[in-house]
């Protein structure tokens, strides 16, 4: 038998942690091996002695201290568990929620349907619509007023701003058109006149606007405005303008480039 191997059994034997077979084999070996017997005895002695190492008894205060600790713990628990009923309910709801993804989907769909329903219901109610219409007409009026007052401003840039407001007024009334036409004919600043011309072409569908533009041709002295008017007339195919352009051609101091352009325009219109 291997002695080294058996020595490993010594502590197991002492602690009674062996199977019956192991025990028999080991005890048999002990009978023949003095070395192992001595080792066992020495170890056993130490092991036994170790059990006699003194330790003080646990103090009698310990149970008292334990009770104190327990009471303190219970108190701290009741403080934190006071809002418990609510928390338990919330937790349960949350669990229910998490456990059923189908429910989540159903709630989502229901909410969307309610949203759409409420939205369409609100839309069909006329009250809002009327209010909005009233408000937008008020805004419209204010813009008109702004525009008209800006057109009389001494500063050219302010007047340009006024004209540009007209592009936001979709259905221009007579007053606005008159104001724009008079600006086109009388404003000293070429830029203001050009912008005004551009603004007026928006309302080219109105007969009064077309008429005003045609009449304006002879009143313009700036080549830039004349050329712009020619372009517009060509675009609108306004035959009545031919007469005015011909009058313009009779002017002696007319710019040569403009003369050519007007001649082309006339041929385009006829």
């Amino acid at each position: 038998m291997n002695c080294e191997n058996d020595k490993a059994f010594i502590s197991s034997w002492i602690n009674n942690e062996m199977t019956a077979a192991e025990r028999t084999a080991f005890e048999q070996h002990l009978l023949t091996c003095t070395e192992c017997r001595q080792e066992l005895e020495a170890t056993q002695q130490v092991w036994k002695l170790m059990g006699e190492i003194p330790a003080p008894a646990a103090s009698a205060d310990m149970p008292v201290q334990f009770q104190g600790m327990l009471e303190q713990y219970k108190e701290s628990q009741t403080v934190t568990t006071k809002p418990n009923p609510l928390r338990v309910l919330v937790d349960k709801l949350r669990q229910l929620w998490l456990l059923q993804p189908g429910m989540q989907l159903a709630y989502t769909i229901v909410l969307i349907v309610i949203g759409i329903g409420a939205g369409s219901l609100l839309n069909t109610q006329g009250g809002n619509k009327q209010e909005i219409a009233a408000l937008s007409s008020q805004v419209h009026e204010m813009k008109e007023m702004m525009m008209l007052s800006l057109l009389e401003n001494p500063s050219a840039s302010e007047r340009i701003r006024g004209v540009s407001y007209s592009s936001e007024i979709k259905t221009a009334n007579k007053e606005v058109i008159e104001a724009l036409l008079s600006t086109l004919n009388n404003d000293q600043n070429v830029n203001v006149r050009l912008i005004t011309l551009e603004a007026l072409t928006q309302y080219a569908g109105e007969p009064s606007v077309r008429e005003g533009l045609v009449k304006s041709i002879v009143q313009q002295e700036s080549p830039l405005v004349q050329s712009a008017l020619a372009d517009i007339m060509l675009k609108l195919q306004e035959k009545r303008s031919v007469q005015s352009f011909k009058k313009l051609l009779q002017q002696k101091d007319l710019n040569n480039a403009i003369r050519n352009k007007i001649e082309q325009t006339i041929s385009g219109l006829i």
Binding site: S11, G51, P54, A58, K74
Partner: protein, 183 residues
């Protein structure tokens, strides 16, 4: 009447009957204190630690599943408490071993023992303190706590075979150190 098992009581505690922990404390605080004392060599510290272990039992009661023994779980927590106290404890043990030993041995517990026995015990205790902390721990669990190998395995989270090997190695070492000092 059949007294309730530790596990049955602990499960009651887990379910909110906190007062039942008093029964477990009554059953185990002495041996727990003994373990901590042998590990640290300090009486007051060991008492504090034992309270700390039971505090953790309360705090972590939800983690007790009842599939292992209450006792092994308790020692498992006790080891954590010792580890949390850290090196400070180990250092004090080394420091204390010489100074307190004589007083302790000469103390009231051994009043009727022979002088020779006192000397032997002082030497053995010295030898114990010379062991690796892990070796000392496994011998304490086996000897003083009278735990079986499979219980120690559960406490230390190792296999029973590993416990067998470690106990043997530690005991062999202890015997050699003791004989060396004694002669």
């Amino acid at each position: 009447m059949n007294p309730l098992t530790d596990n049955a009581i602990m499960l009651k505690v887990k379910n909110g009957d906190l007062d039942k922990l008093g029964l477990l404390f009554e059953r185990h605080h002495r041996s727990l204190f003994g373990f901590l004392f042998h590990m640290t060599g300090q009486r007051e510290l060991s008492e504090d630690m034992a309270q700390n272990v039971f505090y953790r039992i309360l705090k972590y009661k939800h983690a007790f599943r009842g599939d292992g023994e209450f006792k092994t779980w308790m020692y498992h927590l006790a080891r954590n408490v010792i580890n949390d106290n850290g090196r400070a404890v180990k250092r004090t043990v080394k420091h204390q071993e010489v100074t307190n030993l004589a007083e302790e041995i000469a103390g009231s517990y051994l009043a009727d023992e022979s002088i020779q026995k006192k000397q032997e015990l002082a030497l053995l205790k010295n030898a114990m303190n010379n062991l690796q902390p892990e070796s000392r721990e496994i011998l304490i669990l086996s000897k003083f706590q009278e735990l079986k190998y499979h219980e120690i395995a559960a406490i230390m989270d190792i296999t029973e075979g590993a416990v067998k090997v470690r106990v043997h190695r530690a005991l062999h070492q202890l015997k050699n150190v003791y004989l060396q000092i004694a002669n």
